[in-house]
């Protein structure tokens, strides 16, 4: 029995693979289809057992915990802000433990940070665009984060004479609320509200995206929400009345090793 089958109480353990093949109609002829499905089935009993990096011991190094974009001070600022947006609570870990800031750092370093698949041609009219028209600034997300981080720290310095990461949680929340309400000036090309919205959505993504992106450490975000991650099939539970709790697996389990 594979690890996957042990973890999947919803499957009839002895016949799961056979039933699956039958349901998916692989034996029927016709034009060649279901190539990916064939590959999935072929790998089923071997790849699902691997979950490298997830069952690592406490002393193992996570090589992903290094910076691609932020400097240390920027990292600390965002780490503190993200923790206020998604804090540790009785329900489970917060942004810090989930490594959300590493996720944001890595995203900013790539196409998301550079808005590379978005229309960034001039002219720009940030002043006349309401929020219903979204991104209307010439600034990319790297630049918006730079401005936002600077402003978080200057607000903290102005009000509390310290860095944002050093003030109390209540003080951090108060500053973030002012950002959300658009009460802080970044510059004429972008509002604090827009920066806050970006930071908030990136924080949620970092908590719940597949761990391959650097956040959602050990799938703890998914575990809190009872989300099973990457699974082959729910055909046998879709009609079930009771809630079926499934141990999550990530895309790492799908990839060849």
């Amino acid at each position: 029995m594979t690890e996957q089958e042990k973890k999947a109480p919803y499957l009839d353990k002895r016949s799961s693979r056979r039933t699956f093949i039958k349901n998916s109609g692989l034996t029927v002829g016709g034009v060649v289809l279901g190539g990916a499905l064939g590959t999935l089935l072929g790998k089923d009993s071997t790849t699902q057992t691997h979950e490298t990096g997830v069952h690592s011991t406490a002393t193992a190094v996570n090589f992903n915990q290094a910076l691609m974009y932020f400097d240390k001070a920027q990292f600390d600022t965002i780490d503190a802000a993200a923790e206020q947006i998604f804090p540790k609570s009785d329900v489970g870990p917060g942004a810090k433990e989930l490594l959300v800031t590493y996720y944001i750092d890595h995203q900013l370093a790539g196409s998301w940070g550079l808005n590379s698949k978005e229309y960034m041609s001039a002219p720009f009219y940030p002043a006349e665009a309401t929020s219903l028209f979204g991104h209307q600034t010439h600034l990319n997300r790297q630049q918006i984060f730079n401005l936002g981080i600077e402003a978080l720290n200057s607000e903290a310095a102005k009000k509390y004479k310290a860095k944002f990461s050093e003030i109390t949680e209540e003080e951090q929340v108060a500053i973030l609320q002012a950002f959300e309400a658009g009460e802080v000036t970044l510059n004429g090309a972008v509002t604090s509200t827009y920066f806050f919205t970006l930071l908030k959505s990136a924080t949620i993504e970092g908590a719940y995206a597949d761990p391959l992106y650097g956040g959602n450490k050990d799938m703890a975000g998914w575990k809190m929400k009872n989300f099973p991650g990457h699974q082959m099939s729910y055909a046998n539970i879709i009609e079930k009345d009771e809630f079926v709790k499934i141990e999550p697996t990530s895309l790492n389990s799908q990839h060849n090793h």
Partner: protein, 571 residues
């Protein structure tokens, strides 16, 4: 200087559902078809890593690269249009299969009322029922005439479903049994029945059982993996061009697809097209592909753009109401949804499939008396079980903060305890909702972008007020402990995803003065150009459009064959 390529019978600008259907039908008949596709090649194996919410849902992996081409948007003619810089309100797909790869698979037939909406409205309520600024039009074809084409599409895709029990809706027999019913769908069904409505399981292109279609194409049953809309299907269970019509066309040896090739314009002289001008974006080289028939088979919006940039057909003028290209742009409305929170029940919401839903049509089309209503048409009402994913599923009762500890704990507590009853509200045409070319912004080749002028009008806002009460009432009857009821429909929000059901702009009809196409989707002004797709819809109904798009594509395929045999205008 563009390089001229040897002439072919038919050239397609876009290889999605409509291009794929036309390719399959005509290559089977022995015609040579060249398909030009802006995006990349696609195959089922591409989706081995598809269960990735960030890449496919948040980052829109399967959608058009907007840095190369987008459109501009505004609410009315008095404003400057601003670029749609990021994907938001709708998602334009690209790549082989087009939006037919990332769709949900809900496959309805528009109602008999839809195709004769003007005549039937006047007949039942009189002319005065139609507002002066609503250019409501019959489609130039009736439901009964379209039935054989609906059947072709449903048989090809293997649609799973059951008959709609509403007495006003014609009976349909689907090739495969309905999808499985979840506990929440059963609750919806029971509550709707108690209220006197007519619930049924939505017709689905995600197969309920393995199926072999009339072309001999076999596909597997859906596994309810919960990654459907915005995603491709690794099982081939969701009908898409890549797993249905395209292999059939390729098998004939008469079909050639050229990927990474962007059609810039249709070339024409003296009212006849000679071919298309396109760019191979890998080499940067320009080509002219000559053809006897040009099929503009891109996404609805891109169809409009290709015609306007080709100076084919007369552009619509909102001032005078004359001209046709860009006229009757319509959309849909999703703001009547209510969300219910259930303390005692946890649902397996991570499971599902893109077209798994319980639906009622009691408040759709003209299935209810509009005599005392301050709007026309309506919308379907549905409880979908599409698979909820954790980044985007953060429903919390109204009044909960949107971030911080309380938000976190509440969003986690309710993650598997919330159900939405939504509606796809129809949008009627308005003379001020239209598409033309933007005067300022350009694409990667320097061609003008489209400019969309759109907002929800009185008819839609009134409809939303009426429908939202029903979605709330159904959740009450289902026993929800807390219900979030929606407020009024505001101005169109271009950033928030609503629906990718953009329609109109190259509409069909019986009169060349008020429509661009006849009922074979053949251009009145250019007899060897056919323009299938939702761009042909004179208005948008209250349900998913692909079933109707598919039927019209089969109709167009028949028209193209007729034209290649006998020439001339087919109507």
């Amino acid at each position: 200087m563009a390089k001229k390529l040897p002439k072919t019978d038919i050239v397609l600008a876009g290889v999605g559902w409509t291009g794929g259907i036309i390719a399959a039908e005509l290559t089977k008949k022995g015609y040579k078809v060249v398909g030009l596709e802006r995006g990349k090649e696609r195959k089922t194996e591409d989706y081995l890593m598809v269960h990735d919410e960030l890449r496919y849902q948040q980052r829109n992996e399967m959608m058009q690269d907007l840095s190369k081409e987008t459109l501009t948007v505004r609410h009315d003619r008095s404003k400057r249009a601003l670029p749609y810089r990021q994907h938001g309100s709708f998602l334009i797909g690209d790549g082989v299969g087009g939006s037919g790869e990332h769709w949900n698979g809900l496959t309805y037939r528009f109602f008999p009322y839809d195709f004769e909406i003007y005549s039937k409205t006047v007949e039942r309520y009189g002319k005065d029922k139609i507002p002066a600024d609503m250019p409501l039009q019959d489609w130039g074809i009736t439901y009964n005439e379209l039935v054989p084409y609906f059947e072709k599409f449903e048989a090809m895709a293997g649609i799973s479903g059951e008959t709609n029990p509403h007495p006003e809706v014609p009976e349909v027999k689907y090739p495969t049994v309905p999808l499985k019913e979840t506990p929440s769908m059963k609750m919806f069904k029971e509550a709707s029945k108690n209220l006197g409505y007519h619930p049924y399981i939505a017709p689905a292109a995600t197969l309920s059982e393995s199926y072999t279609n009339p072309d001999g194409i076999s596909r597997a049953a859906c596994q309810y993996c919960g990654f459907c809309e915005r995603f491709g299907c690794e099982y081939g269970a969701k009908a898409s061009p890549v797993v249905t019509v395209l292999p059939v066309a390729k098998e004939t040896g008469n079909f050639e697809v050229r990927t990474h090739c962007v059609v810039r314009k249709v070339l024409h002289t003296n009212g006849k097209a000679t071919g298309v001008l396109y760019v191979d974006t890998r080499t940067g080289e320009e080509y002219i592909q000559e053809a006897d028939v040009v099929v503009v088979s891109a996404y609805a919006l891109n169809n409009i753009r290709i015609l306007l940039n080709s100076q084919l057909g007369s552009p619509y003028n909102p001032e005078s109401g004359t001209g046709v290209i860009g006229k009757n742009y319509a959309y849909q409305m999703t703001s009547a949804a209510s969300t219910g929170f259930f303390k005692e029940k946890e649902f397996n919401l991570y499971a599902g499939t893109g077209s798994l839903a319980g639906v009622i049509d009691d408040f759709n089309g003209d299935n209810f008396d509009h005599t005392d209503m301050n709007f026309l048409h309506g919308g379907n009402i549905a409880l979908g079980h599409y698979g909820k994913r954790p980044i985007s599923n953060n429903s919390v009762p109204k009044g909960t903060p949107t971030w911080g500890k309380e938000f976190k704990d509440e969003s986690i507590y309710w993650a598997n305890r919330n159900l939405s009853v939504g509606s796809q509200g129809s949008v009627m045409p308005n003379k001020e909702n239209y598409i033309d070319l933007d005067p300022t912004y350009k694409d990667q080749f320097g061609d003008p972008l489209l400019r969309m002028t759109f907002n929800y009008k009185e008819n839609e806002r009134n409809q939303q007020k009426y429908i939202r009460n029903i979605t709330t009432k159904i959740l009450e009857e289902m026993g929800a402990d807390i219900i979030n009821s929606p407020g009024d429909q505001g101005d169109w929000d271009t950033t928030k995803y609503q629906t990718t059901h953009n329609t109109g702009g190259v509409i069909m009809g019986a009169d060349p003065k008020t429509s661009a196409l006849n009922n074979y989707l053949q251009m009145w002004d250019c007899e060897n150009v056919f323009v299938p797709g939702a761009s042909a819809f004179p208005h948008n109904s209250g349900m998913n459009p692909t079933g109707t798009v598919g039927a019209l594509a089969y109709r167009a395929a028949e028209g193209i064959e007729k034209y290649l045999k006998s020439g001339g205008s087919l109507v």
